[in-house]
Amino acid sequence: MAALGERKLWRFHHIVFAAVVVAFLAWCADRVGLRPKELGAALPAIGEYFYRMAPPKWEFAEVLWKPAAETLYIALWGNVIALLIGLPLGVLAAGNVTRSALVRNSVKAVLNLLRSISELIWAIFFVAAVGLGPFPGALALGVNFGGILGRLYAEALENIDNGPVEALQATGASRLQVIVYAMFPQVLPQFVTYNLYWFEVGVRSATVLGMVGAGGIGFELVTTIRLFEWRETGVVLLLIFAMVTIIDFASTWIRSRIY
């Protein structure tokens, strides 16, 4: 009899929770304007916009090659900078590398700061510092991704097998030697995977940096939308799609080669 009573309580508790969640969701939906009527009107409106993009104005692509390439370069250098920033910070933030909790926590705080502020905001900041163009874009991407990668590196380092680490310590190797010989080889495949993945993400992010003047194809994209040049917008979107897909394939291929 006691068991039955317990089961009933449990279910009641769950029902209340579910009701609260549903109420919350309904409230949110209302505030952001998600009503069935709106949705019903929105879908055809959006459909119409995509319809206006056809047929794409292919001649426009001529103007787009340079910005598209620029987007890729921004992603590339962004990741290089991210590696340069993230690697030392990530190593310092790892629990099994740095014994001082003060150093570790300060570095983690810095990494959090870098990664929590969107790359667009960083881009605005760097444009103010060094002017318009792709350079601030690469810096912004580098700084933001540096924080992200740094934390990923630190987590990977903390999860390694400590056996070889102990063994190398026992031979009398210095701290740095232990890191290079016992820790890095264990995390290298993971680091490469992270870098490849975030390069892909970087290409997608770099496509919008142009909105704030930080280079890449974003500028052309925003301009065509604001000028209602839908057929040109279509070309830009297709180009972005092609670029990202190619990078995707290349990245998958590289990953299969290194394992």
Binding site: G33, I74, V80, S118, I121, A128, A129, M211, D248
Partner: protein, 273 residues
């Protein structure tokens, strides 16, 4: 081992080592040169310049001085915007979850009804993934007007692409054992999917959904830059009015929200796993 064979073995190994080292060095040199060449070229194209960065330091300092200290009186005014940001992320992710379940099943080789459906779905999902939330937001703002509604749709579409593709890959990677067992009992296709495949992918799906929510919060914070609601709108508004101290407050709030979202998501994922 006698001493002469010992010596012979050692010498053989030593010469093999130097041969391999030579090869490795050669390869490394080629890769290094290629990498440097690519970096040099691309760097020049985009104007990478440590000098410019150094020269920019006074501007950065100026930027900071205009923003510091953040105007904390502005905080209460951001309450609405903050709430809106979270709500955009919530519904954007929710719609993505709802849409990606069927799309994932259609886009996985072992559950798709027809190869054409598979390829079309995959193409569609790739298109959704390739386009940044911000770009979607720009288009939708034109289509449905300014405000958070466009933001929700933008986040939903991009997240659907990501979530569905991830889920499809999970579905393709399930353990075949339980599937075969179910088929042996005579279950029809739908039953096999619902009771054999879906339970296997649910944990990873939930975990990735939570991750997507975290990403959506970040995206939602800046959607306002193009008028799609949330804190981003306050950010750009204060910047255009040159009220930089209030801009700093916005950035601070964004920072805190992302941090909280990170922490919450990590905790929830830890409890589920």
């Amino acid at each position: 081992m006698s001493s002469t064979t010992f010596e012979a073995a050692v010498s053989a190994a030593l010469s093999e080592e130097s041969r391999r080292r030579g090869k490795r060095l050669g390869k490394a040199l080629i890769w290094a040169t290629a990498a440097i060449a690519v970096l040099w070229f691309t760097g020049a194209q985009i104007g990478m310049s440590p000098l410019a960065l150094v020269k920019g330091i006074p501007f950065m300092a100026d930027f900071f001085s205009r923003m510091f200290p953040p105007d904390l009186d502005h905080l209460p005014l951001l309450g609405d915007a903050t709430l809106e940001t979270v709500q955009i992320a919530v519904w954007g992710t929710l719609i993505a979850i709802l849409l990606s379940i069927p799309l994932a099943l259609l886009g996985a080789k072992n559950t798709t009804p027809h190869p054409i459906v598979f390829h079309v779905t995959r193409l569609f999902l790739n298109a959704l993934r390739a386009i940044n939330e911000l770009v979607f937001a720009l288009i939708f703002v034109s289509a449905v007007g300014l405000g958070p509604f466009a933001g929700v749709l933008a986040i939903a579409l991009h997240a659907t692409g990501m979530l569905a593709k991830f889920c499809a890959e999970e579905v393709e990677g399930v353990d075949r054992g339980p599937i075969e067992a179910m088929q042996a009992t005579g279950a029809n296709r739908l039953q096999v999917i619902l009771f054999g495949i879906v339970p296997q992918v649910i944990p990873a799906f939930i975990s990735y959904s939570i991750y997507r929510f975290d990403v959506s919060i970040r995206a939602a914070t800046i959607l306002g830059l193009v008028g799609a609601g949330g804190l981003g709108f306050s950010l750009i508004k204060t910047m255009k009015l040159f009220k930089y101290h209030e801009t700093a407050t916005c950035i601070l709030v964004i920072f805190i929200i992302v941090l909280i979202s990170d922490w919450v998501c990590a905790k929830v994922r830890a409890r589920i796993i």
